[in-house]
């Protein structure tokens, strides 16, 4: 399904470009208030309209993309950074107390309703983008640990690993040099999916006021601001909502496309 790959790639790069471009240029200053121009629907000057302070929505969406991408990206980084080594270690010492401990720890994190704990963590540490990253990142760790362990376990049975052991390599070296490169595809696909989940989670946390704080623009908070005005200015809710949907959709399609592209075997299995 290269169609998924292309469409997903296009949508995702559109958002990345918008975020990257916002460092150099936005149509208007995203924070500049202009009350006479408030609540405009999309027009030639303000392509996506303006909010109740007369701020340009396109500029806010572009700068908000930075927040979403940064939070989700670092959260995936935390998940991979901690989860992959844990998964590799668990697979290398299969059945040992280390493996058992890591997997039970994973089960435990999975048992926590992630949203509730994210709310708890941000409530305890204080609302803000950094704490949102931590809250989302923690729940990525077991995802990557589990997927790494699962893939690594079957690799450990293979002959080229046996060859490496005969050659005198230790478990750590084998994990780093032979196992990791072979699970990389899987991790990239999962990373894309966790990235999209991270964007949704960040939007949710910002919506309830626990994510990025003003003046940092964020899609979730734009939605929260729009809620009381949705009856007379629906575009205030439509614009950030569509930005979230298109980004998440793009990343999910990209993930699906990459999975099919990188591993044709899975296409049959998942149908």
């Amino acid at each position: 399904m290269t169609r998924n790959l292309i469409l997903g790639g296009l949508l995702s790069s559109l958002m990345l470009l918008a975020a990257a471009a916002s460092f150099l240029w936005t149509p208007f200053d995203h924070a500049a208030m202009n009350i006479p121009a408030k609540l405009q629907t999309p027009n030639a000057q303000h392509w996506l309209g303006t909010d109740h302070f007369g701020r340009d929505l396109l500029s806010m969406i572009m700068v908000g993309a930075r927040t979403s991408i940064a939070v989700a990206l670092v959260a995936v980084g935390i998940g991979m950074g901690a989860g992959v080594p844990l998964g590799l270690a668990a697979a290398a010492r299969k059945g040992s107390w280390l493996d058992e401990g890591i997997m039970r720890g994973n089960d435990l994190v999975f048992a926590f309703p992630s949203l509730v704990i994210a709310i708890l963590i941000t409530a305890v540490l204080g609302a803000g983008a950094v704490n949102a990253i931590i809250a989302i990142g923690i729940f990525n760790i077991p995802v990557f640990a589990r997927i790494t362990r699962g893939a690594a376990l079957s690799l450990w049975e293979r002959e080229f690993i046996l060859a490496a052991r005969v050659a005198g390599k230790g478990a750590a070296r084998i994990s780093a040099e032979h196992i990791l490169p072979n699970v990389m595809n899987l991790l990239i696909v999962q990373g894309t999916i966790q990235f999209s989940l991270g964007i949704l989670a960040e939007a949710g946390l910002s919506y309830v006021g626990l994510g990025a704080q003003p003046p940092t623009p964020s899609w979730g908070r734009m939605l929260a601001d729009a809620q009381t005005m949705v009856s007379f200015a629906p575009h205030l809710a439509l614009v950030p909502g569509l930005a979230i949907i298109l980004t998440v959709l793009g990343l999910n399609l990209l993930g699906d496309g990459l999975r099919d592209h990188l591993d044709p075997k899975l296409r049959v299995a998942r149908a």
Partner: protein, 315 residues
Amino acid sequence: MLRYALKRLLSLILSLAVASLVIFLVVEVAPGDPASFMLGVNAQPDTIAALRAELGLDQGKLARYLSWAAGMLSGDFGTSYTYRTPVAGMIADRLWVSLPLALYALTLSTLIAFPAGIYAAARRGKPGDLAVMGATQLGVAMPNFWFAMMLVLIFAINLRWFGAGGFPGWDTGLWAGLHALTLPAIALALPQAAILTRVMRSALLDILGEDFMRTARAKGLSRRQALWRHGVRNALIPVLTIIGLQFSFLLAGAIIIEQVFYLPGLGRLVFQAISSRDLIVVESVVMLLVFAVITVNFLVDLAYALVDPRLRSRT
């Protein structure tokens, strides 16, 4: 089977114990002393100390954890710092909103996903399948609170079929209650329905490739008959697992949706408790939700082992 069940039960108890400890510790590091928070900035130190003693905050951490955990086992969740009423009663009141909402959403999600998944699987690769799969991609990508806002805009503000929020209480009648929960339930159900549709479709497609399906066709059943009689029934096992997992997710996921619709459920209770530093309420609600997730997982595992004996030997 008994050995497997006991083993799973032991791990259930262990998980609950560790979870309660983690929750207690996380809440412990929360900045701000509840007693000084309640009494305000002008409170005398001895008044604060007296209140701390009254709330039991002057005891050691271990003693407090043990009394909290022991209390919960006997159904006593302690007393709210802010409202001075038993936490168990507050939670029970809110559960009357959150629990029906989750069940309502689960019902809707199942009612949407079953026909959609079966339809897509039966028309694999055809336009109907592509349309359903496209819709599920959208459903998964949509934040449910945004969808909720759109529902309010269309069905509450423009069409005026429903109220925009609030809950009249069950004493105004079953119909009034369900009516108020309809939009929140739809908002909550849709993303779940999208996931469930995909599971149903792929489970059915797996089954369609099995030998017994070919046998069913060979003995003269039409494609449709074989699909319904043998396919759907066998696909139910993975689908029921996901439904079980979704229930606890819906209970926890209602937190944000309750904010959108101003519903007096567990979610609003948690937010109010967080902002007023009513830590014992926060701890108890989170523990309850974790308990729900772990217990549902346990029951799903057990049901699975009951259906499929092969799983009992695995851990």
